[in-house]
Symmetry: C2
Subunit: 395 residues, 2 copies
DNA sequence: AGCAGGTGTGACAACGTTGTCAACCCTCAG
DNA sequence: CTGAGGGTTGACAACGTTGTCACACCTGCT
């Protein structure tokens, strides 16, 4: 800017005025300055500007993993709202690691972002208190923080959604309904489990711990859990899955279990009357590369299959038939849910609306709105597609 | 920092030294400073630091849409590399709009990011020249820029991938192969079309424009294009789709076309022997919310169905049977491709590797590596799963 | 002529850091 | 006792902006 001023033969401040379209500059002078700017290829340094003015016109977004469709939708929504508000977005994936979340948040704060949208990985956000005190606004999305921090939060109706989904299965005649959820330390997983129990309670059905399995949505774990349930004396006739990744893993598990000794007329497992040959798909390529640093694929075939096969194969029920007729409702909608056979019934959240709501709330705060802390709950939406309307299997 | 210095009874510079773990500070003094920092909840202002030091330790990432699984994978990879290099990431979605891309890039440059990873929407990046001259490094990913700008680029082998995929169909006996690609202004779309033609040429097959349709992957357009092709005198027996979204749209189109008058034993369309009822899925909810601002869903049912039904329904071939037996290979892997019936054969790119490669190249440049401009091409990978190995239908 | 009020311009400090350099205190060898 | 040298500390300028204030000039009025 100094150079521009020298070139144009004016003072620094005049250049600043031209650059910022401030009034009170002679048209001729302004033109001279603009030419100098053009000539020198000058671009204002927003870092310095920010230092002087206080506001950075940027926000930080911390999510679990951009590569997860749920969060990437949320991400895009936040981005759009930010753009509309003239703000840039720092994005960071915590990978469900509270330590990394903390580092990201603090790094964003050190850059003096105006505000934060956080999908928290941990519960303890004491480290945020000084930042909030220093004037950085934060909105929690998808999951709350502990009660210690009083801060705006936008959630989905996790319990309600799960209740609706499970009630839907009950309404279709199911009495033995399994629940496959994410790691129990995760807020949404707990809430959905609560919803599951509430629906059972409301229908007067007992809660059977052997029908519930919580843990990371890794294929090996999910497959093992399902095989175990199907081998029970009183196996489930329906399954409620607690999130999108778990739903997909469960479907793959059914495919694996059914394919072990497929029935000729099963709708699952490719055993239909079509002439389509099962391709020579090697197991390593059965799905698109997962987001994280691998590890999931390698365990799929080895891990459970060898260790549990005996137990399950000897089940007196014939697990294959059970697997092929299991009704399913999943929490979270996902791409192609409608093209599977049967199509998958889901309880849909709206990640875009979630992100938009959180970001808009943040910008309202930044604009000076100082009402009481808000706690917004967004509705979920049951989408019946077929898999959730299957009747209980009887053999 | 001033306050901290005052509280601790030391000079500004000493606090700076403590904060930055510089050597040469008495342990007792350092401890006193740390206590003052703790007491006041002080956090270094990285903006000011950046101003003084020159490097911002941040990069900008401009992609088409974070919500697209391909780009969100790329995104995550870039993020991870950046984190490893102690850098933060500004993310922005251009939405395939050159103007918005330009705004984002310039905004990032104004913040003095150290470097940029750009998936360009347009071809003309003249506006970047001054920035590059000013020392900002840039790496183009997935698509190149025009020849005017000499800059590092990481691409996939688009033509080669398409060639492989189409050759695969030819090897399975197909002679009439349709190509459904993205908008022809997009580099990758053009390249893949070239690969398609090369494969035809290599096999001595004619190029038939009536089997080729390029345009945005909207459901209505894709459905119409496919219906038109299936109604031809010599309809295609196989289809190659030019990207993930188009593949999915094509599958939905087949579902729509087949379902219009389904054959009892078709593997597609839910007409299998299973007892699974088609759920009462309303058309508005057939898929998860698409990323952009809607518009796609509403047109799915209305747009084409009413205007073209007559033409297609009167086809002398019975489009349903054609649709049900069409072999498919798609460019891009996608989630659940392996769980459809038949599973979908794809030519897979590796978005994570793409992002990682681009980001690592960027950071090598930032570390001072000054070799000639690099142009890296990543391989693609054919994954046979079933849909690409179907034989040509004969009626 | 003198003065109010407006327009255009510039000098200067400040934002919160860090790099440079100098000063201080101590210890130890000459 | 003197001086060299290391360890510790601080004063100051600079990074590139913008807010504040003041100045110079012009216009139109009394």
């Amino acid at each position: 800017m100094n150079d521009v001023a020298a070139t144009a033969g004016v003072a620094l401040k005049t250049v600043s005025r031209v650059v910022n379209d401030e009034p009170g500059v002679n048209a001729a002078t302004a033109e001279r300055v603009r030419q100098a700017i053009e000539l020198l290829g000058y671009r204002r340094n927003d870092g310095a500007r920010v230092l002087r003015r206080g506001r950075t016109a940027s926000i930080g977004l911390v999510i679990e993993d951009v590569a997860d469709p749920f969060y990437s939708g949320l991400s895009r929504a936040v981005e759009d709202v930010a753009l509309r508000n003239g703000s840039l977005v720092f994005t960071g994936s915590s990978g469900e690691d509270p330590q990394r979340e903390r580092e990201l948040v603090l790094a964003f704060c050190a850059r003096r972002v105006d505000g934060l949208v956080i999908v928290p990985a941990g519960y303890d956000h004491g480290y945020l208190a000084p930042e909030l005190h220093a004037g950085i606004r934060a909105v929690f999305a998808d999951r709350p923080t502990g009660p210690a921090l009083d801060v705006d939060t936008v959630l989905c109706d996790n319990a309600g959604g799960a209740r609706t989904g499970v009630a839907h299965l009950i309404a279709h005649g199911h009495r033995r309904i399994a629940f496959l959820g994410d790691n129990a330390v995760i807020f949404t997983a707990k809430e959905r489990l609560s919803g599951y129990r509430e629906a059972l309670d409301a229908a007067g059905l007992p809660y059977d711990p052997s029908l519930v399995s919580m843990g990371p949505p890794e294929q090996a774990r999910v497959t093992a859990a399902m095989a175990g349930m199907l081998a029970l004396d009183h196996p489930p006739t329906a399954l409620f899955t607690g999130n999108g990744q778990t739903t997909v893993a469960a479907l793959r598990a059914l495919e694996i279990l059914s394919a072990r000794d497929p029935e000729p007329n099963s709708s699952r497992g490719g055993g239909s009357a079509s002439a389509s040959p099962r391709g020579p798909a090697s197991p390593r390529h059965s799905g698109p590369a997962s987001s994280g640093p691998g590890g999931q694929e390698s365990s799929r075939e080895g891990g459970w299959a060898s260790s549990r096969e005996g137990g399950w194969a000897s089940s007196r029920h014939g697990g294959q038939r059970l697997a092929a007729s299991l009704a399913i409702v999943g929490f979270d909608d996902f791409q192609l849910a409608d093209l599977l056979s049967p199509s998958i019934t889901v309880v849909a959240q709206d990640p875009i609306r979630l992100g938009r709501t959180a970001a808009e709330l943040l910008f309202r705060r930044l604009a000076g709105e100082n009402g009481p802390v808000e706690r917004i709950q967004l509705p979920t939406h049951l989408i019946p597609r077929g898999s959730g309307e299957l009747p209980p299997a009887t053999f």
